[in-house]
Subunit: 142 residues, 2 copies
Amino acid sequence: MLAVAMPRLWDLKETSLYVEDMPRALKFYVEVMGLCPLVEDERFCALDIAGRHVLLLFLRGASLRPNELPGGVIPPHDGAGPLHVGFSIDAKDLPGWEGQLASNGVAIESRMSWPRGGRSLYFRDPDGHLLEILTPGVWATY
Amino acid sequence: MLAVAMPRLWDLKETSLYVEDMPRALKFYVEVMGLCPLVEDERFCALDIAGRHVLLLFLRGASLRPNELPGGVIPPHDGAGPLHVGFSIDAKDLPGWEGQLASNGVAIESRMSWPRGGRSLYFRDPDGHLLEILTPGVWATY
């Protein structure tokens, strides 16, 4: 009998956050975080991150029914609570991000230095999600 | 006055899911999804995805207090509900993933064909999070 090689994941490509006020969230992610909307409506917005990742914003409670599209059905999902995501940046951009957050009135809640040399800033989006900006040297793989 | 260039995000590197039973979740993500733990304990597990992304599993309710570490403090966060994340795969691996899920008793809840030619499978992890496996051709950027 032949052993069948296990298929592999290439990346985690889509991450979701659930928000109370879509225009408020969109304004934050575009103006403060510098992301570019790929698709947007009142319920849902997809934001491009440097061509590498798609951040999905969903209006809370608005994706609890199957979403029937011409190509199939997206099953229900939803989320509550202050979720956590981390964005990678070049180490040289850390001072620029400190300035970008300060000039937009976003408080830095914490700063972290990691044993591998990486550094993180922690702050909140308008829904209270815990955002992290991290330089290389946080994980064995980053 | 000089215009200051806005700093840029390189990627979204860390995504969090909140789970009720860490050993159960870890078993699923290692054995079914093929991920490799970078760090693990009873409260928290970090899983490597092909050196490109770090999936963080947190025991629900166990990260509601600031986590004081030698290099700083990780502020509180938590999550509830069936969140949604999407993993990218090579298009040639889609049949292999259908087989991998079937052989592990994971039901495919939906299949989607996207206008750009991409295809998605939707299924659930043991906590009910909505997982998607997607081939290229879903987004303008993927």
